[in-house]
């Protein structure tokens, strides 16, 4: 092999066509960097996307790429992974693509634990169709299709994932280089479906919808960066902590300097705490929220197949069926 590839080696010649200032640029940069960092082999890597702004992603990555149809990327990627389990298969989807029209496929990819790295760009809006409210939009979202504010309750990507039996759920913020780099590498290393929700800012139709926790100046107080085995601390001086409140069966913020022993230690394998962390708001939980190693779908599929999808017999061994007879002239 040649020398180690850099992020630039994963960029294509295609002109990137997202709106200037779109959060997608930062994610693209984070992904190309992560590919270089994990030593991804371009020809062994495929990006499969659905429809939406984020789904243009494959055109901009120098690997194999398949820009498919609305919502169906997880199903197509499942077929691809079964056909060639050696491939690194990434799926790029959005809140509309993955949680509305394609929610069924996302759910089934998750419960099967297919070896896919699914990047869910959540901007809480339909961008490509010019700004209608999406399944993650908050109640009251004003949009061209909801001029008086939307009335639908939003879906929580994390709760959806865990409800579907996801074994890996993580979160990152588009512009958070350090956090994204870590989350993407963890997702890459996971055997099974790793779902990464990326808070992505749509500068045109839903600007600053996540500003209450993504703005850098207040990030220390609004973001909880989780690390397995470490206490859940945040704040300017890591002086705040997350504790369990048994009276309300929920998580709350405490003064970590006063009661350090009450601060929860992050256990990625704890699905109950993961659910509470997903709902936590200010701080917002980021990083790997839940990880439960398990056998991947493709590993089970091949292990259960009598010949691991190889041809070990000929059609002539089967063509006679249970019984045959001969007719002579």
């Amino acid at each position: 092999m040649s020398d180690k590839l850099t992020a630039k080696d994963f960029a294509t010649s295609q002109e990137v066509r997202w709106c200037p200032g779109c959060g997608d640029y930062a994610v693209l940069k984070a992904v190309t960097k992560a590919l270089a960092d994990v030593g991804a082999v371009p020809e062994q890597t495929a990006f499969v996307s659905g429809i939406g702004c984020a789904s243009r992603f494959p055109y901009y990555i120098e690997t194999y790429g398949f820009h498919t149809i609305h919502g169906r990327a997880p199903a197509i990627a499942t077929g691809l992974k079964l056909a060639n389990p050696e491939l690194d298969v990434w799926v790029v989807t959005g809140d509309g693509d993955g949680l509305s029209i394609g929610a069924n496929h996302l759910m089934h990819a998750l419960r099967r634990n297919v070896g896919l790295k699914i990047l869910l760009f959540n901007n809480e809006i339909y961008g490509l169709t010019k700004g209608q409210y999406s399944p993650t939009s908050r109640v009251g979202t004003k949009s061209p299709s909801s001029p008086r504010g939307s009335v639908d309750n939003p879906i929580s990507p994390g709760q959806f994932a865990l409800g579907a039996g996801a074994k890996f759920f993580a979160r990152g913020i588009d512009t958070d280089k350090v956090g994204m780099s870590d989350v993407l590498q963890q997702a890459h290393a996971f055997r099974g479906t790793s779902l990464v929700e990326i808070f992505q800012n749509c500068i045109v139709y839903n600007e600053n919808v996540f500003a209450d926790f993504t703005e850098r100046k207040n990030a220390a107080n609004t973001q909880l960066h989780l690390k397995h085995g470490e206490p859940m601390l945040f704040g300017e001086n890591n002086d705040k902590g997350i504790a369990y409140n048994p009276d309300t069966w929920s998580l709350g913020v405490i003064d970590a300097t006063k009661a350090p022993d009450d601060v929860l230690v992050h256990d990625e394998g704890n699905a109950v705490v993961a659910r509470l962390l997903i709902d936590l708001h200010l701080p917002v939980a980021l990083g790997v929220i839940y990880r439960q190693p398990s056998v991947s779908f493709e590993d089970s599929f091949y292990a259960h197949h009598p010949s691991r999808m190889k041809r070990t017999k000929s059609i002539t061994d089967f063509i006679r069926g249970p019984s045959s007879w001969t007719v002579s002239d």
């Binding site: 294509t12 790429g65 056909a83 041809r311």
Partner: protein, 640 residues
């Protein structure tokens, strides 16, 4: 006749029925029927094991060398309310020494497990047919459910038939008493009891049925032994002295089949083997991605047992996921196949467009059934031809081929894969509910004589990978099958329009025109590779030609042969064979019988500018030879 009397024969039947009897044989002679053939119909409740009994009878028939055709006719409900007419499940088999191509118009033998089965089947029989009924099921309650005011066994309703009324339930339970089964378990053996009787009547061996029971119930020795006992008991019942007085064993002579090795096969079995064979011919693994739907599921079941042929099956979460996973598999270098029936095919439509746009190979099998909507899930129809040829958004042409018989599903499956790989396109293979379940003897092909299937090679060049991935063959317009994992060929595909040369996204108006033209030309080019259309039978010019497609082959063949009419049967529907227009032009009139409202007629009018006479039937039942003969004769009569 009383319920205690196991056998009661109506003595009036023979003289009236046209049954001629020689020492040890019964020949049933009826109009427009295959000589030396007998049609047997088994009917009962959905839970009576009729389909199982029928298929085992078919296997034992095959082993004697008789030709046969079968027609499973069952309700959509898995276990419809017992004793009702709409819950009747039936299995019809036509067996004989001549060429058998249909399950027969009118049964000669009926086994009716209850009054409802008798009520539904009686109008199908010709006078003089042998009717075997289960006395035990003729209770007042069952008679009421079947809509009989008076017991048909005593009302005279069966006067025109030869009746054997046996206490099948009771005799069966007696036979299996020793095994200590519950009443319901014991009762479930009665299909094998009746099969035993039938095997005796037709002079069949037990072996294949016993072997099947031994295999199937290996883990449950008590049930296994009870079913074998029931089989023997039914056979012994037939052999008893009381019976031989009134019933002769029926011998069907071996058929005049072409020399070779044969097996019995259903369309689902043949199509599964064909798909697996295509994988071997192309030296690729196969992934069938499918969602359960009647009557397509048997293909999923069949292929899931052919793993050692490099075949995998993926049961997807829905119809859309099924085709999408198949597309993903094709993109990854396996032969992607999806299979469904009309409503499921409708859901797959958008994804077919993706495969067309991305120029990926894919086989889409449609086991057509009655519609619209859920329609008649278990009944056959040919009404998805428009959907296959015309039914997509935008200009999205796809080659469409079809299978005429159960056995032909094998070669058309290979043909579908061959076209898909050569032209890098999805291919629709039309079959139907009748073919899926119907069994016939099938001459086992010599696989060494079948040409390998070649995928288009990636051209050696210094051009950029995107361009190389879309460098198309001049003859087939198929592109190379470049799959992830191949070094140095990373490229992007998708549903956006692409430049005809570079393969990059293009919104250029002239390019879209060129790409639309190219997609049409690609499908048209399939006609350069397929065989010229030939006549199935009859003179090569004249006043009338009958044109068919799909599973109507059998009845049309018989009707055309009977009347000496020219017969053309299509396997390639889009594009049509190049010589078809010229061939049909040699006739004054074209008759198109089909199980829809005239879809092939429309297609021929559209593509060839001819004006066929449509003979359309959508009753959920295959054509009868007699009704086709009548139509042909009426048209001939009008030709001066």
């Amino acid at each position: 006749m009383t319920d205690n009397d196991p056998i009661a024969l109506n003595s009036r039947t023979h003289a009236q029925s046209g049954i001629s009897r020689s020492s040890n044989r019964l020949f049933f002679v009826t109009k427009n029927k295959d000589v030396d053939s007998i049609v047997v119909r088994l009917a009962g409740d959905s839970g009576d094991g009729i389909q199982l009994m029928g298929s085992q009878f078919a296997v034992s028939t095959a082993l004697t060398g008789a030709d046969f055709a079968t027609f499973p006719d069952y309700p959509a409900e898995i276990r419809a309310p017992v004793g009702t007419t709409f819950g009747v499940s039936a299995y019809q088999i036509n067996l004989g020494g001549g060429s058998i191509t249909t399950p027969g118009d009118t049964p000669d033998v009926l086994v009716a497990f209850n009054p409802a089965a008798l009520k539904v089947s009686l109008p199908l029989l010709h006078k003089g047919a042998l009717v075997i009924v289960n006395n035990d099921a003729f209770t007042p309650r069952n008679l009421t459910k079947a809509g009989y005011d008076v017991d048909p066994r005593v009302s005279g309703a069966l006067n025109d038939y030869q009746v054997v009324a046996a206490d099948i339930s009771h005799l069966n339970l007696e036979a299996v008493k020793e095994f200590g089964l519950s009443k319901s378990e014991g009762s479930r053996c009665k299909n094998f009891w009746a099969l035993g009787l039938l095997l005796w009547m037709f002079d069949r061996e037990f072996d294949s049925v016993e072997a099947w029971i031994n295999r199937r119930l290996a883990e449950e020795p008590t049930l296994r032994d009870a079913n074998i006992k029931a089989l023997h008991a039914g056979h012994a019942f037939g052999e008893t002295a009381e019976l031989t007085a009134s019933l002769s064993q029926i011998h069907v002579p071996a058929a005049q089949l072409e020399a070779g090795e044969y097996r019995g096969i259903t369309g689902a079995e043949a199509l599964a083997l064909g798909i697996a064979a295509a994988g071997e011919l192309a030296d690729r693994s196969v992934l069938l991605c499918s969602y359960p739907i009647t009557p397509a599921s048997p293909l999923l079941h069949q292929l899931s047992r052919l793993g050692e042929l490099g075949v995998g099956t993926f049961q997807a979460e829905d119809e859309i996921a099924a085709i999408c996973a198949a597309i993903g598999a094709s993109y990854g270098g396996m032969i992607g196949v999806t299979s469904s029936s009309g409503p499921g095919i409708a859901l797959k439509t958008e994804a077919m467009g993706l495969a067309v746009s991305a120029e990926l190979p894919l086989v889409i099998v449609n086991w057509q059934r009655g519609g619209p909507s859920t329609g008649l899930p278990t009944k056959t129809e040919q009404s998805d031809l428009y959907q296959a040829v015309y039914g997509r958004n935008a200009d999205t042409p796809i080659p469409v081929i079809c299978a005429s018989t159960s056995g032909e599903c094998f070669e058309m499956a290979i043909e579908a894969v061959r076209i898909a790989l050569r032209h890098m396109t999805p291919v629709i293979l039309l079959a139907d509910g009748y073919l899926s379940n119907a069994a016939e003897p099938w001459r086992i092909p010599d696989m060494s004589a079948v040409a390998p299937i070649e995928a288009n090679a990636v051209p050696e060049s210094d051009e950029d990978p995107q361009r190389r991935a879309f460098s198309r063959s001049q003859k087939s317009l198929g592109r190379p099958w470049v799959t992830p994992g191949m070094p140095g060929l990373m490229h992007r595909v998708g549903g956006l329009e692409k430049d005809i040369e570079s393969g990059h996204i293009s919104y250029d108006p002239a390019n879209h025109q060129s790409m639309t033209d190219l997609r049409a030309a690609k499908v048209r080019s399939v006609a350069d590779f397929i065989p010229a259309q030939e006549l199935e039978s009859g003179p090569d010019s004249g006043d009338l030609v009958v044109v068919g497609w799909g599973s109507t082959y059998g009845p049309i063949f018989q009707a055309a042969s009977t009347t000496g009419t020219s017969f053309v049967h299509l396997r390639y529907l889009n594009p049509l064979p190049k010589n078809l227009g010229e061939l049909l032009g040699r006739f004054d009139k074209i008759l198109v019988p089909e199980m829809n409202t005239g879809q092939l007629s429309t297609l021929l009018r559209d593509k060839l500018g001819v004006d066929p006479v449509s003979f359309a039937k959508v009753s959920g039942q295959p054509f009868l030879i007699s009704e086709l003969v009548e139509k042909i004769e009426s048209l001939k009569g009008k030709t001066s």
